[in-house]
């Protein structure tokens, strides 16, 4: 049956429905706002624009014609400074004592300290020279003019040898006295 009560009821229901709908609308708006602010929305046009711009920037950086315009030797870094391609500070080599440029230091060390063939020879020659210096101490004494005139020549280590022509260290010596 219809009556004021029913109308009231209907009005009330509509009002309540309106309330519910408003709440839902605010929720949807808030959600869309969040998506927009966080950039979560895969909005193709915007992304295409951004990608286009970034591709442009990348092309500008990689463009060879661009870098030939600027001096290829001097590249500008993010602070605006330029550096020469070979480091120019000068150091003293701890091995040979020479003054070397920092940029040439590594190759110099290679030669100086032994990676190369020549350097290794240099090292062995000098070390064997040092060894020979010490080992010649004993053969030197056999050269003494005071060796006896007997037919048997004694070596410094005491081993008698025939005709004194051969020494244990393998060097040939002319005998002091003729047989």
């Amino acid at each position: 049956m219809s009556g004021p009560n029913e109308d009231n009821n209907t009005q009330l229901s509509s009002h309540i429905f309106g309330d519910l709908l408003d709440s839902i609308i605010v929720d949807v708006a808030s959600e869309c706002h969040r998506i927009a602010k966080l950039g979560l929305d895969r909005n193709l046009e915007e992304e295409e624009e951004e990608m286009r711009l970034s591709a442009q920037a990348r092309a500008r950086v990689a463009d060879p014609s661009n870098s030939s315009e600027t001096n290829t030797k001097y590249v500008v870094d993010i602070f605006g400074q330029t550096h020469p391609s070979v480091a120019t500070e000068i150091f003293e080599c701890m091995n040979c004592g020479r003054s070397i440029a920092a940029g040439r230091f590594a190759p110099h060390l290679e030669k100086c300290m032994g990676k190369g063939r020549k350097a290794r020879l240099k090292v062995t020659r000098s070390s064997t020279a040092a060894q020979n210096r010490y080992s010649r101490g004993s053969p030197v004494s056999t050269y003494s003019p005071y060796s006896n005139s007997t037919s048997t020549n004694r070596l410094s280590n005491g081993t008698p040898s025939v005709a004194g022509e051969e020494y244990s260290n393998g060097t040939y010596e002319e005998p002091w006295n003729k047989t």
Binding site: L12, S13, V28, S30, C32, H33
Partner: protein
């Protein structure tokens, strides 16, 4: 003397002003307390998603954001944008279903 000493006395409450809670308020309280409001909201949300209403609203928001720029949009903007369109575009059968539910609640609430 502190200013707070001279402030007007705290009103004793609504009863003094003769403001009785309106019918609407009573019903609202009943709705919330019984949990019916929550159920109705969920039902309405579900129906609106099913019929594509939510997508329409999101599309409106997206085009608005694109026009204005991401960082120039407020929630308020979006609410004002959607409200008139949103209210008008609820499908009739959805509205009917919800109204039906509400009415039966009102009857069962024995007013």
């Amino acid at each position: 003397m502190k200013h707070s000493v001279n402030r007007p006395p705290t009103p004793d409450g609504a009863e003094d002003q003769g403001n009785e809670p309106t019918l609407q308020e009573i019903i609202n309280i009943k709705l919330i307390e019984s949990g019916e409001k929550e159920s109705l909201m969920e039902l309405l949300r579900e129906r609106l998603i099913e019929c594509g209403w939510k997508d329409e609203m999101k599309a409106l928001c997206r085009s608005y954001v694109k026009k204005k720029g991401r960082n120039n949009v407020t929630v308020d903007d979006l609410v004002h944008l959607i409200t008139p369109k949103g209210r008008a575009s609820v499908p009739d059968f959805v509205k009917a279903e919800l109204l039906q539910r509400i009415r039966s609640f009102l009857m069962s609430a024995a007013l």
